[in-house]
């Protein structure tokens, strides 16, 4: 593995009004790897995500994407550079159908988002439907997104994140609000992306069955610091982690 990792986070720090949400965090995710970022509520997971995709500008530290320093670039540029993400609170375009949601994303990634005269709806139907198929929601294509149950909205997000053929996929609590079978289905999709398309996947998750069932590696955060970064078996055995995290679970 001589090539640079898809994502390298280097000594990242971010504070909010004196609250140090993330301190000195470093970790890497390689192509084809499924990496879990875990930690109790408030540990700084979402803040990490936000620093990686440009939602927030870190106070210190760097973010490297495939060997390129992308620290502080805005979300839009990160998206176009190959970072797809889902949000902890699902964010979709509520006034559009599921298919139109994906079509907007496809058009945007294809650089046609500003066309004034072309017709948008139905423009990339086949491509959109393939993505919906992949996210397991082909049947919902014509549904109005604002009226979807929460779990389904999370899957629409996945389809949106995939529309840009990302090399890095960030999933913030992708299975929250889902039934068990659905959780496994969506994680299987993610695993397949990693294996087949060599996407680097970084996800946060509270369900330990999911984490230990799917992750290749686990990064544990506690109060903004990395306290472990190792394969699942090692993390499971880590006393530190058990004390601050698993012990409470």
């Amino acid at each position: 593995m001589s090539a640079a990792p898809v994502l390298a986070v280097e000594r990242l720090s971010k504070s909010f009004d004196g609250v140090r949400a993330v301190r000195d965090v470093s970790f890497r995710v390689s192509a084809g790897e499924l990496c879990a970022l875990i930690g109790p509520n408030g540990a700084g997971k979402t803040t990490c995500f936000n620093c990686v995709n440009g939602q927030l500008v870190p106070d210190e530290g760097r973010v490297w994407l495939a060997g390129v320093n992308v620290t502080g670039r805005p979300p839009r540029e990160m998206a176009l550079a190959g970072v797809g993400r889902t949000f902890q609170v699902a964010a979709t375009f509520a006034s559009m159908t599921v298919r139109e949601n994906v079509e907007v994303a496809l058009l945007s990634h294809a650089g046609h988002g500003e066309a004034l005269l072309a017709r948008a709806s139905g423009a990339r139907r086949a491509q959109a439907d393939a993505l919906l198929e992949r996210a397991g929601i082909a049947a919902l294509a014509d549904r109005h997104c604002g009226a979807l149950p929460y779990g389904d909205a999370k899957r629409v997000e996945l389809a949106l994140a995939l529309a840009g053929n990302p090399k890095l996929l960030l999933m913030d609590e992708p299975t929250a609000g889902m039934a068990h079978a659905d959780r496994d289905a969506i994680m299987a999709t993610a695993a397949e992306l990693a294996r087949r398309d060599r996407v680097a996947v970084l996800f946060t998750e509270h369900d330990m069955d999911v984490v230990f069932g799917f992750a290749d590696r686990i990064v544990v955060l506690d109060r903004g610091r990395v306290i472990a970064d190792a394969p699942p078996d090692v993390v499971r055995a880590d006393a530190n982690v058990q004390a601050v995290y698993l012990g409470t679970a």
Binding site: N53, A79, A94, S95, A105, H144
Partner: protein, 629 residues
């Protein structure tokens, strides 16, 4: 200007600031809790002044009688406020948020005519206040006692309100409701009761302000609109919902105006600058500067990010018009093209007005509907377009070239403003557009040599080929029809979808690579261009223009048309413009009290069809495509 003179001017400014704060405090209170943009706040102020005059006449002379009349006026206005809330706004809290603005606009029209009927046309100058009718010598100048009294009243009201909000149970409820409505109702806040109470208090304050103003200004029928714009500015500059912010803002505006007046004409680098002329827009300049630096006003908090809860109605604009809609539009267009064969000339004039208004409203709907950005100053682009066309024409450009310049110039104006505006959101954005429009208005109004000043420009008639009413109507129909087609096309093009995406969730839009601000900025530019085109058509249809083409009432008209027609209905602008124009035309002929009649019809439409006329019509036909299966 000596230092003493300056200090005393600031003292004068304090008195004005206090008066201004009193009006704005009620407005900011009402907005903070109920999120209602109460356009009728100035009308409540005016009622306060008139009622104080009437009570004063009834109670007679004397100290007790005077203050009794002030309090009685405030109390009655508070009741009027409660009535407006209970009978009207209560039914509209679930409706699209700006519909309340339309409703309160209806109230403005009704109150104005009611005041005319009750108190007559002549201004009512109130008596001087017993024991406060003299002056105090300060630094060799006579300062009215009543000014000093007002300077004290402002802070007293500020402290009282602050105490009320921070130290009482009522205040706790108010804060809970302003910060998080959902949470507040979960905590068992009886929202209905709270809203009524807040309205009573806010309206009472407006009434009190009006009553206290009476010794300084005769009660007159133009007080309502004169004061409401200023009160909005104070509220926004201070930060919506912030009472100390309103005080601070009133102070700044009062002082800036006093200073402008005090400075008089000053030579700056060999140029004589007449500062008093700036008072025409001083408050709007202050607002533009403050919002450019502090997007939530001086002391305002960023509005809570609400989870997007789109209405099913927002869906309708997304639907690509189907074959039926296309056929209907084609038939309508054909029918309109045949109009000259069947109706009289005047109807063609009226129809031309409707078409121009439709294009103007459609351009506003474009940024308000798909764009989710409200503009209170849309007339700026209409007016810039009209002036650009008129000026080019008067400088010898042929009419088509002059008309083509209209959208270009208006777009330039929109690009200029849009750069600042898209950094803001919600009412702040809306108010920045208003400030921009007012600043442009004041330039046009005062730049006599170029724009013709307040008189405007005349002699802007189309060439002989289009001089006849029928030919100009057909010309307008062709242009407006094409423009509307283009707008609809853009709304359903990838750009329109990106714009809607930015509205639905700017986070998500950015995460899929949409440049949210650039998209919204472009939307502003496009809307400006279409509004400008409407302005150009307007200029040639009337033969003359004046600053009224970019004044507040025209912006308000466009808002009312959009909301009447249905913010999210594709045919909304046409329906709104047609209904509004036709109604005014008919009612003005039918009754002297046509303003009130217009107001009543607007209220009826708003209450019966909260989704606008277009929304109501959409309900009538079966849905083409079910939204949820």
């Amino acid at each position: 200007m000596t230092l003493t003179a300056l200090a005393l001017q600031l003292l004068n400014g304090l008195a004005s600031a206090s008066a201004l704060f009193l009006v704005a405090a009620g407005l900011t209170l009402i907005f903070g809790v109920t999120r209602v943009v109460n356009f009728a706040h100035g009308s409540l102020f005016m009622l306060g002044a008139y009622l104080a005059w009437s009570f004063g006449e009834a109670f007679g002379d004397g100290v007790a009688a005077h203050w009794a009349s002030v309090l009685a006026a405030a109390a009655v206005v508070a009741l009027v406020g409660v009535a407006i809330e209970a009978l009207l706004l209560k039914r509209l809290y679930a409706a699209p948020e700006l519909l309340q603005l339309t409703a309160t606009f209806g109230v403005v029209l009704v109150v104005r005519d009611a005041a005319l009927a009750l108190w007559g046309a002549e201004d009512k100058l109130g008596p001087r206040v017993p024991h406060l009718d003299g002056t105090v010598q300060i630094a060799g100048r006579a300062i009215p006692e009543y000014d000093l009294f007002l300077i004290v009243v402002g802070p007293v009201v500020l402290v009282t309100l602050t105490w009320l909000v921070t130290r009482t149970r009522f205040g706790t409820l108010i804060r809970a409701a302003s910060e998080n409505r959902v949470l507040a109702s979960a905590l068992g806040v009886r929202q209905a009761l709270l809203f009524s109470a807040v309205f009573a208090l806010g309206a009472g304050l407006a009434g009190l302000a009006g009553a206290l103003q009476l010794p300084r200004e005769p009660a007159n029928l133009n007080m309502d609109l004169a004061v409401v714009a200023e009160a909005f500015v104070v509220t926004v500059v201070g930060g919506l919902g912030s009472i100390p912010g309103a005080f601070l803002a009133a102070l700044i505006i009062g002082l800036v105006k006093a200073l402008c007046i005090g400075l008089g004409t000053v030579e700056i680098g060999g140029v004589a600058v007449a500062f008093p002329r700036l008072t025409l827009v001083a408050e709007f300049v202050v607002m533009a500067v403050v919002l450019a630096v502090k997007p939530h006003g001086l002391l305002g908090a960023p509005p809570p990010v609400l989870a997007s809860t789109p209405l099913p109605e927002q869906r309708t604009l997304v639907l690509v018009p189907g074959r039926r809609a296309a056929v209907a539009a084609a038939v309508l267009f054909g029918a309109l093209a045949l109009l000259p064969a069947v109706v009289d000339d005047y109807l063609l004039v009226l129809a031309t007005d409707v078409l121009v208004a439709t294009l103007f409203a459609a351009s506003l709907q474009f940024i308000m509907g798909p764009g989710g950005m409200t503009s209170f100053g849309h007339a700026a682009y209409f007016g810039v377009g009209a002036y650009a066309a008129a000026l080019a024409f008067r400088h010898g450009w042929p009419m088509p070239a002059a008309l083509a310049l209209a959208p270009v110039a208006a777009m330039a104006a929109a690009v200029l403003l849009g750069g600042f505006a898209v950094r803001l959101a919600g009412v702040y954005l809306a108010m920045l557009t208003l400030a921009f429009a007012q600043i442009v208005w004041s330039i046009v109004y005062q730049w006599d040599a170029v724009t013709g000043g307040s008189n405007g420009l005349v002699g802007i008639w189309p060439p002989a080929l289009l001089a006849h009413r029928a030919s100009y109507y057909l010309f307008t129909l062709a242009i407006v029809g094409s423009a509307l087609l283009l707008l609809a096309r853009i709304a359903h093009a990838p750009f329109g979808f990106a714009l809607r995406a930015a509205r639905d969730s700017s986070l998500r839009a950015a995460a899929i690579g949409v440049d949210v601000r650039a998209t919204q900025w472009r939307a502003f530019a496009l809307a400006g261009a279409f509004a400008g085109l409407a302005g150009g058509l307007f200029a040639f249809s009337k033969g003359s223009i004046s600053p009224e083409t970019l004044a507040i009432p025209r912006s308000v008209d466009a808002l009312v048309m959009v909301l009447l027609g249905g913010l999210n209905a594709l045919a909304g602008p046409l329906l709104g413009a047609a209904a509004f124009t036709w109604m005014q035309d008919e009612l003005a002929r039918a009754t002297d009290y046509w303003r009130a009649a217009t107001g009543v019809v607007i209220l009826a439409i708003v209450l019966l069809f909260p989704q606008g006329i277009g929304g109501a019509l959409a309900r009538l036909r079966p849905r083409r495509r079910p939204l949820a299966t």
